[in-house]
Amino acid sequence: MTFSPSPDGMAESAIAISVVGFSIMTILLLLLVLRRYWIEQRQNERRDSLRMITAQLMVWLSGDDVGAKLADAPRQDKLDALVHLYQLVRGSDRQKLGQFAIDNRLLQPIIARARRGSVNSRIDAVRILEWVGQDESIKALKQVLLRDANPRIRLEAAAALAQLDALPYPKILVTALDLETTKPTRLHRALFRAAAPKYGPELVAMLRRKIPDELRAALVDALGWTGDYSSLEHLAAASHHANPLVRRAALRAASQVNHPAAAPWIFALLDDQDETVRELAAQTCAHLGLRKAMPKLREMERDASPWVRLRVEQALGAMAEPA
């Protein structure tokens, strides 16, 4: 019997394919290695170029004239050096560097990239704008926040604006980030906190509207960061809210405000039916140094929840230490 699962013709072409495949792979590997080698070489050149630009920028900052060297440097290198320096220095030097970016029209291509391009490239551009700051960047970032079709990028823009202390009204933020319909994450909570010092009254106004509990919790949490004791009364009101999420947010905010006037309602929350609220209330007592709570806390050492017992122990431990 003669039987061959693969006729020799097929086998020969398989071998041929393998040989060709191996040759191609060898070439590709060599190209990859060469590319790496080139990158390594280029990196050294680039480092020199960035160094030169840095030195020239420093000359420029100290008010002296700079030669053509700086003007002729590649635009990308200039931007990279600038962004880098921008993150290292603060004060008037930083302002001047921002001015340099505008004078030399370094931001235009970035702003254009933030408006169109792939998701990755847009996010990159948003991050560069955040680093450079300046009114022009802020304007562009606000547009991205309001207009970009991708929620991921809108969130990125909001985070950038928070970093630059230039967030829009909380209400705009809520709409731009779809927070009426989706659950706020930790990142959103950070954004509201960043907006709080500027927009305390607006946050309070939003609390009066009918909004989802998760969003309410995020807003109450942010009230702790307004830097204004008048938020305490709103926190006291939130401590009666039916949802433990909101009551917990009130406690977190009270910790941040750090004023003993909140003590009565914090004490009340030590008796909350929700264990996570009791836990946090105990921690908050310790944080505010409310020694009046100590007898109550000692009682709570026999709480049914091991979590509450743990936090109570820690709280008592913290308050026992001499302040």
Binding site: R47, R51, T54
Partner: protein
Amino acid sequence: MAKILVADDDDLLGELVRFKLDQGGHQVETAEDGETALKKAREGGFDLVVLDAMMPVMSGFAVLEALRAEAATSALPIVMLTSRRAQEDVVNALKAGANDYVTKPFIPDELVARVDAILQKTGRKETATPDS
């Protein structure tokens, strides 16, 4: 004129600080990792060291401790220049013997002023005596 060692793995920062201190009339040498910094500092000749906290090979905190542990360098003025802003980092560094702690982002002129102040206080401003 004083001789200053700047240890930071960020070479643009090195360039910046070099320029500023240069302008302030000091002579600057740089090191790009903790180990090199420690080696150079031990060799002596520096009036002050500016140390970054996060460096490859050996952290700035470790360099600080090592320098303080040796008799020859125990009094060498050290300024930490770092992006670590946590309270305990600052306190620990000062406890470990750093003369000053500057956080990034920083004001370049302020760094120069602090360096000058320390040099003045430790009497190293005018006399560039090698440290050995």
